[in-house]
Symmetry: C2
DNA sequence: CCTCCCGTTAGTCATCTGCCTAAGGCGATA
DNA sequence: TATCGCCTTAGGCAGATGACTAACGGGAGG
């Protein structure tokens, strides 16, 4: 009972606890959330399985912290990138460089697994919703700034709709790539890039 | 329930096997793929758990058949709908009616769970890829037809890119809705609908 | 009528699962 | 040196899981 009261704050800089969270991410990449068990976690983190209970109370508690840590990092990077003071086209390209890097590094897999997990764990849903809202907000601000930058009227550039399009497209893109599918992706991104380039050159004139 | 087919028809050797596949889909909706176990399947199908081995060899074998049956139905409906001889705008609206119905009926959940499963089951990947390719093909044909219908040049209507956009957007939309998110969806769909309506009225003139 | 055989049943098996705990160690402090 | 409290360990528990099988029953065909 007393040993389980570890839930609130993240164990400050505890190397072992961090090792468990890292191990969980690795297992998510390699085997999906169904492969995250106490014993496999312990093996992967090179620690004792009893520590899952000691640090996180339960597997679910551990996964909840994985979600928190992962999404915090994700949103922070996103916010910093889109908030920077460079032309929109540059942000756009950086965003897609991130996407590709994340796919290669397995981060996209982690994030998709965590989302899939949240479909069946109501306690994780609020965090996923929060991340979506924050991400959307960052995007909305960037798009509004871009609209000004390029002098686009709301009619030809309905920000709310385009943010929704961008959000859903990003998710769908990650899924398809995870499934080994990339048909048309290059064509689509090139098309958008050309469109942005056009706007950018017009802006400079 | 044990006395299922009271009909004078033959025992229909598939009835029990079908019941297992149905049960699996229900479990996917309610608890995700991690909740599909032999015992829960048996309870849900009101049958004996030994039959999983008898009919499908293993849980994986059963899930593989769930994927096959489900995707066959999905693609068949999609093909029929987009192949019909009505204005594109009507197909578009029907497609989104399907989306909403599927979300409500849980079919979207089933499909997303099966995809999430495929991320970690290499044997299921080919089927998912095949479905994606077939779906994309249906869409491509419909879009090409729409381009002719509305007299759009390839430059302002790059089919390959738009098919990719449509595919990924569809996936992302389903995910967000599954996670209880729908910000901007209506605005986006209304925007597209207005655009199509414009094209449609111009076509009639 | 009898026989055969498919579908079904109950039950077993080894293994794995999450959760929990008593006991030990180890470093910092007094 | 002795004490204290945080980490860590090995181990155990009850329950669940996937795979499998011997045995049965009832309908179809002889």
């Amino acid at each position: 009972m007393a040993t389980t009261s570890r839930t609130p704050a993240p164990p400050d800089r505890n190397a072992t606890a961090e090792a468990f969270l890292d191990a969980a991410e690795r297992l998510l990449v390699e085997d999906g959330y169904a492969g995250v068990t106490t014993r496999r976690l312990a093996a992967e983190a090179d620690a004792n399985q009893g520590l899952v209970h000691y640090y996180f109370g339960s597997i679910d508690g551990l996964l909840a912290q994985v979600v928190e840590r992962f999404t915090d990092r994700l949103v922070e990077r996103q916010r910093e990138m889109y908030g920077s003071d460079v032309p929109f086209i540059e942000k756009w390209r950086t965003a897609w460089r991130f996407q590709r890097e994340d796919l290669e590094a397995g981060y996209s897999k982690v994030w998709m697994e965590l989302q899939a997990l949240s479909w069946n764990r109501p306690n994780l849903k609020p965090t996923v919703e929060r991340v979506n809202a924050e991400w959307r907000d960052v995007l909305r601000q960037a798009f509004e700034r871009a609209a000004k930058e390029y002098g686009l009227a709301p009619e030809q550039f309905p920000v709310e709709a385009l943010v929704a399009l961008m959000m859903t497209f990003g998710q769908g893109y990650a899924i398809e790539r995870l499934e080994g599918i990339d048909s048309g992706h290059a064509a689509l991104l090139d098309w958008v890039d050309g469109w942005l380039e056009d706007l950018e050159s017009r802006r400079k004139r």
